[in-house]
């Protein structure tokens, strides 16, 4: 069944919020507010999460894995290489000394954490991405956009809701 994409631009965050709330409360055929609704905003609005429902973020798990891997890798790389570097003794210390190795383990813990967090961010946020055709540069300036995907026939209903909430403009495009 063919789908239609709609992008409504609002000048005001409260209008957009009201529109979203209404969309979530309405039951429109071929439109699931949890999946087919995307809010685009120029700044970060923590409230969005609340009215969009609680969507989980998984970046922290990447962070944890990255940090642990980095730390372990560091310790074994360092200790292993110390044990193999002609078994050379330095300054009357053990071949594999703990306190100095801890420093680099710590650094690599952080390095791994940061790198993998970024990787996680890119994965979770779906970046890099092609820009969707329904995009207005106004969204990066001062306006809020609501992008919805719905069945062809429900498009009118949605447009109605947007217009009701004083959308400045509505772009539409056929899609899958």
């Amino acid at each position: 069944m063919s789908k239609r994409h709609l992008l409504a631009i609002f000048s005001n965050f409260h209008e957009a919020e009201a529109a979203v709330k209404e969309l979530r409360n309405s039951s429109i055929k071929g439109f699931d507010a949890n999946q087919d609704l995307i809010v685009k905003s120029p700044i970060e609005h923590p409230e969005v999460e609340e009215f969009l429902g609680n969507k989980p973020v998984y970046v922290q798990w990447f962070t944890l894995c990255g940090a642990l891997t980095g730390g372990l890798l560091a310790f074994f790389l360092i200790s292993g290489s110390q044990a193999n570097f002609f078994d050379q003794v330095k300054g009357g210390k053990p071949v594999v000394p703990f306190p100095p190795n801890f420093v680099l383990t710590y650094e690599m813990f952080i390095l791994g954490g940061v790198y993998i967090s970024i990787l996680g961010f890119l994965i979770c946020a779906g970046l890099p991405a092609r820009r969707s055709p329904l995009y207005s540069s106004k969204v990066s300036e001062d306006q809020i956009g609501i992008l919805v995907k719905t069945d062809e026939e429900s498009a009118g209903v949605l447009k109605g809701i947007f217009t009701k909430h004083e959308a400045l403009e509505i772009q539409e495009e056929a899609g899958k």
Binding site: I38, V39, K40, S41, P42, I43, E44, H45, P46, E47, V48, E49, E50, K55, V57, V59, Q60, T63, A67, L77, I78, S81, Q82, N84, F85, K90, K93, P100, N101, V103, L104, Y106, E107, M108, I110, L111, G113, V114, Y115, S117, I118, G120, F121, L122, C124, A125, G126, L127, P128, A129, R130, R131, Y135, S137, V139, S140, E141, D142, G145, L147
Partner: protein
């Protein structure tokens, strides 16, 4: 006095900042050319030194380190303020950081890149620097992971790459703005590529927020560890005047201190060069100045603690180094450092000077000079007056080659920084918008109690 006008139109924010990316003023070119000239002098000195050997720097046995290491610490220290503003203040929700943290972070990145140069310049056999890199090789030869210098290298690498990533991630929404507004030439391609297709969707923002917060959390201990490790270069050694327990916190405080002073300097310069008066307001300057003052007092305390512990200990050798600092060849510099580091900042305690731009410019430069001297006074006197009296060497004076490279590094830093400010928005547009938005919400909340409901999500 408000930190920022709450009624700035968001579109104006975009225009103002984007304007700073275009058609450079004459002053900009003057700065770029002077920076390149100074950098060129440094390069010439380094080439000469590379060809002749480090002897031309007028280092000697046993005075094997000099300005290179001191300036290295200086640049590393400078980098800490970016982290302070972007990470620590971010966690503390101090939103006045928002107009100024971007350039502070850029400063972090570029001062680290400058510091990295000194590691190289300092080496006797620069062409073999890769021996210090732990690359797998068939002979199983590895660097010595016990060496604080190697920790340094690793810490700088971690810090530099993390800072670049942090700067970059935080800049993605702004890059999208650039992409949306600049439609010509290489810039368009650059911004399109770098913005990664950012559209400001809720999913992107959600992950963005968590990631930014996580990295900020990592960056704080990282920054602390980096300067502790730099302190370890000295504290882990056995030398009098270096083997000091309080060095790691002392170095971190010194780093934040010099970084904040540098922020004041650059704040004033950017405000003037790019006409950012609307964003880099005097109210924010005041806050930065107060923060700097607080850190200055922390540093002063740690500095005095260091003297006191040496003075009251029975470590005669360390005491001799301290006395030598205060009375010997280095005395003028040592007293100057204490003056610049502890007395000059007292000016910042006075309200009327806190927003006096010329005064603050001079003060911030003096503070930085004091902090540079501090590093020199840590490195050199110990060599001049170590454990072994026979090898004492009070006459060592850096040659013009050393001075040339040190000055050259300032040219290099300025060049990188100015180029950055022309290519990337040096004021975070989206965050200024957030700041304006939340502040206006809060004001309204005060004015109209009835608007509680609609302001539900506001801070």
């Amino acid at each position: 006095m408000k930190d920022i006008r709450e009624d700035i139109a968001w579109a104006k924010i975009n225009t103002d900042v984007l304007k700073s990316l275009e058609s450079p003023r004459k002053l900009f070119w003057v700065i770029i050319i002077s920076a390149l000239t100074v950098f060129g002098i440094g390069v010439a000195c380094e080439l000469y030194q590379y060809n002749m050997g480090l002897g031309v720097a007028n280092l000697d046995n046993p005075h094997v380190w000099g300005l290179y290491i001191a300036t290295f610490i200086f640049w590393i220290g400078m980098s800490h303020s970016g982290t302070l503003l972007s990470a620590i203040l971010h966690l503390m929700h101090a939103d006045w950081r928002k107009p100024i943290y971007r350039f502070a972070e850029a400063m972090t990145t570029f001062s680290l890149m400058t510091a990295g140069l000194f590691v190289m310049v300092h080496l006797g056999r620069l062409w073999q620097f890769y021996y210090a890199v732990p690359y797998p090789n068939e002979r199983w030869i590895w660097p010595n992971f016990q060496s604080p210098l190697l920790w340094d290298a690793m810490a700088i690498f971690t810090y530099l790459s993390s800072s670049i990533l942090f700067l970059y991630v935080g800049m993605i929404p702004d890059l999208a703005i650039c992409r949306d507004n600049i439609h010509t030439g290489w810039r368009k391609k650059l911004y399109t590529l770098l913005s990664l297709g950012w559209e400001g969707t809720d999913r992107q923002w959600r992950n963005f927020r968590v990631t930014y917060l996580t990295i900020a959390c990592f960056l704080i201990p990282l920054a602390v560890s980096v300067h502790s490790i730099v302190a370890s270069d000295f504290a882990m050694s056995q030398q009098p005047g270096w083997h000091v327990t309080s060095f790691p916190p002392y170095f971190v405080a010194g780093a934040l201190y010099s970084g904040c002073a540098a922020i004041i300097t650059l704040f004033i310069i950017l405000r003037y060069v790019f006409k950012f008066e609307e964003y880099m307001t005097l109210a924010i300057l005041k806050k930065v100045v107060r923060l700097t003052f607080a850190i200055a007092m922390v540093w002063t305390y740690l500095n005095l603690i260091e003297y006191a512990t040496v003075w009251y200990s029975h470590d005669e050798v360390s005491k001799a180094v301290l006395i030598q600092k205060a009375t010997g060849t280095y005395a003028p510099f040592w007293w100057m450092m204490n003056f610049c580091g502890s007395i000059v900042p007292l000016i910042m305690a006075f309200k009327r000077f806190q927003t006096n731009i010329p005064v603050m410019m001079v003060v911030s430069l003096l503070l930085n000079m004091g902090m540079w001297l501090e590093r020199w006074m840590i490195v050199s006197p110990t060599f001049s007056h170590g454990y072994y009296p026979w090898t004492w060497d009070h006459d060592q004076w850096p040659s013009w080659v050393q001075w040339g490279v040190v000055f050259g590094s300032f040219g290099w830093f300025t060049f990188l920084f100015m180029v950055f400010c022309k290519i990337f928005p040096s004021v975070s547009m989206y965050e200024v918008k957030e700041m304006v938005y939340h502040r206006s919400l809060a004001s309204k909340k005060l004015e109209v109690a009835g608007m509680q409901e609609s302001g539900k999500g506001a801070h």
